[in-house]
Amino acid sequence: MSVDEKTVRRIAHLARIAVADEDVAPLQGELNAILAFVEQLNEVDVEGVQPMTSVTPMTMKKRVDTVTEGGRAADIVANAPETEDNYFLVPKVVE
């Protein structure tokens, strides 16, 4: 399989990465090189093989449902580009 220009633009939008017009063709070439490389996986007979979900057999640990940490709002917003009163500020979403 390979991707066309339209698909490159669609993936870029899904990934929320702005792509300039002049970058579409080079990206298409690079993505298609990777897709051509992974094409060989179609040679493998995977009938009846379970997809891996955990590389080390383990039961998912569950922690006790209690507060472990808290009251650190100032730490959490400390690296944000824009904040107000310990809230993250984003551009207006709803008119």
């Binding site: 993936i11 929320r16 990465i17 702005a18 990777i34 891996m52 922690r63 551009p91 207006k92």
Partner: protein, 501 residues
């Protein structure tokens, strides 16, 4: 360089970590002296671009505490030993970038589990080490903060070589004596390939051995932390402090941490070492083939049995990795949206802000991997790519399980298909050419196994080559034992003289 301060002819930063530990406990020099020797060395080595951040004031304060502990007879396991930290580990109050512009200015308000355990054990932090952006690369050339230059050069040449990647700052700093050891991470070979390129030792432990808490995520089912150092023993000492259960990482295993250092001198008598025939790939350099045979001979001479084995799905590991890892990366890197940390570039609306921020903040390789990952997870392609790759991953793991069930204790392979290459030499339009560097290491991540890379000799151009040993799950001890045999048989590599200073 720091004065010898009673340690004979060797400068303090040129000691091994074990020698430095023993020298400190015998009070032949102080933690302050050995820390200052490193600070002086790294200031003269800035041309290598190994450190993104130097923290000399913090280092000297930590060394002062270490000297007090040593004086009181309360030395901890890594007391006073200066280390470098890959800039993928979050360090409280110290700039952490993952090699990306998108995290420029980020100062974590928390400490990664692995680095916290190093400080708990008395180690001294020298600074943060350069890496490929978000650990995506095999040459350190994708760092937004410039390439790292290897301390190694080809015979009679001053062409700049790569130190490998993604832990290129770690491998270069260890090889150039700019720290006694360094933290690193390995998703497809990012500890073992740079170690092989720089004549250093690097171990990727079993998945789950070290906590991933506080390490910037690339591909969570593959990422593992481990050390790079100048000897097998030094790696064993460091891993002993880095490993251990952490309830904050649900994939961190609740197993006791063995005495890794004790395993170093165990020998390989009675062990069976497998040689996988599928690693004999077309076009492999005769020098590497010869070294691989030599490695098997050394292990045999030390009492191991060597037998050929088959790992039939080996060739599919790299293409399967380039589906699984980008898929996980596309999900993990969704968090860089200009809201909670790092860069924000305004847009016409919130989606425009996301798109502009990510376009400006991510480099080319990272964008490529996010986009491939987005594609293979998108509606209509998920089964054909992602699920198929995960099935193949099951087969890759099964190959190893069958080899181990047949009585093999560890597997010997080359670490890389070639020695280090020059900066810019692989900048072709086809990204796959660079990906092929990880062809021998990536199988280990796909199967969650431990793997160690140990220097085994030099090529005709005078560059180091490494061998890899792959172990059973949670049997790093056998790897340390076998690695030590190779290290002793090959003789310690003499690291480059400081042409940069």
């Amino acid at each position: 360089m720091g004065g010898p301060a009673g340690s004979g002819m060797t400068a303090l930063n040129e000691l091994t970590l074990a020698e430095a530990r023993d020298g400190l406990s015998a009070k032949r020099f102080s933690a302050r002296e050995i820390t200052q020797a490193h600070i002086d060395a790294l200031e003269k080595a800035r041309v290598l671009n190994a450190y993104l951040v130097e923290t000399p004031d913090r280092a000297l304060k930590m060394a002062e505490v270490s000297d007090e502990k040593i004086a009181k007879g309360e030395a901890r396991p890594l007391e006073g030993l200066p280390l470098g930290i890959k800039d993928l580990f979050c360090t409280q109050g110290v700039h952490t970038t993952a090699g990306s512009k998108i995290l420029e200015g980020f100062e974590p308000h928390y400490e990664s589990n692995v680095s916290a355990q190093l400080w708990r054990d008395g180690a001294v932090m020298l600074g943060k080490l350069n890496l490929d952006e978000f650990a995506m690369g095999s040459s350190n050339e994708t760092s937004a903060y410039g390439s790292v230059i290897s301390p190694w050069r080809r015979n009679g040449s001053d062409a700049k070589l790569v130190p490998g990647g993604s832990s290129g700052g770690s491998s270069a700093a260890v090889a150039a004596h700019l720290c006694l050891g360094a933290t690193a991470t390995d998703t497809g070979g990012s500890i073992r390939q740079p170690a092989a390129f720089t004549g250093t030792v690097g171990i990727k432990p079993t998945y789950g051995r070290c906590s991933r808490w506080g390490i910037v995520a690339y591909a969570s089912s593959l990422d593992q932390a481990g050390p790079i150092a100048r000897t097998t023993r030094d790696c064993a000492i460091l891993l002993g402090s880095m490993a251990g259960h952490d309830p904050r990482d649900t994939t961190s295993v609740d197993l006791p941490v063995p005495n890794f250092e004790a395993a170093v001198s165990r020998g390989v008598k009675g062990l069976t070492i497998g040689i996988p025939r599928e690693y004999r790939v077309d076009g492999m350099s005769p020098e590497i083939l010869k070294l691989w045979d030599q490695g098997a001979e050394w292990l045999k001479a030390a009492g191991a049995t060597v037998k050929e084995i088959s790992l039939p799905h080996t060739k599919y590991a790299l293409p399967a990795y380039y589906i699984v890892a980008p898929a996980e990366a596309s999900s993990n890197l969704a968090r860089y949206d200009g809201v909670r940390y790092g860069l924000r570039v305004p847009g016409k609306d919130i989606a425009g802000m996301y798109e502009n921020t990510r376009a400006a903040g991510f480099g080319r390789e990272v964008k490529r991997r996010i986009m491939i990952g987005t594609y293979v997870l998108s509606a209509g392609y998920y089964d054909a790519y992602y699920v198929r790759a995960q099935r193949i991953r099951t087969l890759i793991k099964r190959d190893f399980e069958e080899a181990y069930a047949s009585g093999v204790d560890a597997i010997l392979t080359p670490a890389t298909p070639s020695a280090a290459f020059g900066i810019g030499e692989k900048a072709s339009a086809d990204p796959v050419e660079m990906y092929l560097n990880d062809v021998f290491t990536v199988t280990v991540n796909m199967a969650g196994l431990p793997g160690i890379s140990v220097p085994a000799g030099l090529d005709a151009q005078g560059l180091p080559l490494g061998l890899q040993l792959i172990g059973r799950p949670f049997d790093e001890e056998t790897l340390f034992a076998a690695s030590q045999v190779i290290e002793e048989s090959a003789g310690r590599v003499s690291l480059p003289k400081a042409w940069w200073a």
